[in-house]
């Protein structure tokens, strides 16, 4: 009985499906462009993983905890925190100190979302749609739409340099964070509480989980992860653009959902999201190297987003 249960485990099936899909996108990339199947593609590809990856992890945890939870403001938080960091540096603050303050700003922006949703009681979709516009609007309005540059060159080590042929941002930020979140979700009580809250919030509440506080914390975490993404972006591009995070909210939702996270919570895994992000990034890089219009990327990602949820619903993973 145990083996059949294992065999039918939707998450395992999902991981298998995602692995096959990733191999297919790799094959597609190799078929589309002769430049794709080279060792230099690996660091190039991995460079694009961390920012989206961090946001996707936050999105996964928020969705997993149920509610239903979603954070559409992640991209706007990346833009706004990036500007805060560059702005503080411009005022004479040390760049590392500015990054630290940036993390606090991210936590604050995330806390605003968390309070609006879990204390005030606004549905997450509307609350974060509104903060998406407030945050991204602020980013544009405060700078007049112009990027803030002048980031010191020595700060570029994080976003531009490599160690052991791997981008530093991937090796020193994304990998550890993913590992910690994976352990948090699978090996700790908090992780169990997150899944429990997503599965049945009433039951979770009755056995003593403070569901509201737990979810609030996850929105704060999402803000901090977005701030980490902002630090990487600033280091990488040596500037903070007011539209740096534009569109990332949709990509991060796609990553979480494609990775097998149930949109209404209770089901999902960090490894699934990780595979989904690899798929999305491989697709982007493959099409880019083959010189195919960016529009196709958007179209394919949109189809993936709808398709992955439709398949879940039709196969009857919890209606």
């Amino acid at each position: 009985m145990k083996t059949t249960a294992r065999f039918r485990d939707p998450l395992r099936q999902r991981l298998l499906f995602l692995t096959v899909l990733w191999l297919l996108t790799l094959a597609l990339g190799a078929w589309l462009s002769p430049h794709f199947w080279q060792s230099s593609t690996v660091p190039y590809l991995l460079q694009y993983v961390p920012v989206l990856g961090l946001l996707g992890m936050g999105q996964t945890l928020i969705m997993l905890a149920g509610g239903p939870g979603i954070d559409l403001s992640v991209g706007a938080m990346v833009s706004l925190v990036g500007l805060a960091i560059a702005g503080l540096y411009g005022l004479g603050l040390d760049i590392y100190l500015a990054s630290l303050v940036g993390l606090l700003v991210g936590a604050l922006l995330g806390a605003v979302n968390g309070v609006l949703i879990n204390i005030v009681g606004i549905p997450s979709l509307m609350a974060t749609l509104a903060t998406l516009f407030v945050y991204s609007g602020l980013a544009v309005a405060l700078t007049g739409g112009r990027p803030l540059g002048g980031i010191p060159g020595e700060f570029a080590w994080l976003g531009q340099n490599q160690t052991w042929n791997l981008p530093n941002q991937f090796l020193f930020v994304f990998l550890p964070v993913t590992l910690v979140l994976h352990v948090l979700l699978t090996r700790t009580v908090t992780g169990n509480h997150i899944v429990a809250a997503g599965n049945d919030e009433r039951a979770a509440f009755l056995v003593g989980v403070n569901v509201r506080r737990l979810r609030l914390k996850l929105y704060v975490l999402s803000g901090v992860l977005a701030a980490l993404g902002a630090i990487i972006t600033v280091s990488w591009f040596q500037a903070a653009r007011p539209d740096a995070g534009k569109g990332l909210e949709l990509l991060s939702v796609t990553a979480a959902v494609l990775g097998g996270t149930h949109i209404f919570g209770g089901l999902g895994r960090i490894s699934g999201t990780l595979l989904a992000i690899l798929i999305i990034t491989t697709l982007q890089i493959g099409l880019q190297l083959a010189n195919i219009s960016q529009a196709w990327q958007l179209g394919v990602i949109g189809a993936l987003l709808i398709g992955s949820v439709a398949v879940d619903s039709l196969l009857g993973r919890r209606p």
Binding site: M126, F133, G144, V309, L314
Partner: protein, 314 residues
Amino acid sequence: MNAIPRAYQRELILLAAIGIVCVIFASRSEFFISERNLVTVLRNSVDLAVISAGMTLVIAMGGIDVSVGGILAVSAIIIGRAYQAEWPDAVVVVLGLATGCVLGALNGTVCAKLRVPPIIATLGSMYIFIAVLFLVIGGTWISGLPGTLSFLILGEWLGLPAGVYIIGVVYLLCWAILRRHVWGRHLLAVGSDEPAARLVGIDVDWIKIRTYTLLGLLAGIAAVLYVARLRNVEVNIGTNIALEAIAATILGGADIRGGVGSLAGTLLGVLFIKLMQNGLVLSGVSSLWETVIIGGLLLAVLTLDALQGRRVRV
């Protein structure tokens, strides 16, 4: 269903808010209250007003559509291309409306038949619509379109701008659907409690497809009006209109959880948003602050709604 005095509370509050905003802006800029400016505001509001009427029905049904900007864009390209091919006006208009219907029906079908939650379905379809937009016009504008439809915006009849009649007809029609037709009853039932609606025998899937198609049709009408007004199709067409329509609908008293919606409230919400945008620009505030202010307004209303009687579960 509530006591009658409460029924129009939201509309009255909005009316008062519009009055206060008008007095404030009029005191800062004389031009604001002039007939010419108010007619301009009205002309700029028509496409948002038309889309918001459909958004009200969709939200009352418990749905949401963030892809209306994409539908507007794709319809506008089809209209632009048909114009460039020098097809007759009537054909061009019908083609634009038909495109809107088809794309709306597509959204509805994905929500209903594939059981995809509306936010995911329309986020995904928005990507796809934007992709279509870029693939067809490839980062350039379609410009210099003929002005044969301009009468829809610039025309006047009995001393009132054409927009008043368009808005009037659309809102009357949507009101009739929502309040005087089974469609509206069933749509509100789906929004209040979908499983219950299914159990009493309502064809929920068909209601969803119809309502999303209606919103698509209205987005197609908005595309015709857009082309008539600006006579070009630019790359970032329709980027903010979904949020503005959702904001107007929520301002107007609709509940994002479904089951509640007011067309009169939505129309007042549209006017409020457009008057704010216009007034802020006239009083010297950069238009870059527009999104912050609309978002902030939306947050304020959501917060008040949430604090007024609804408690967080758990």
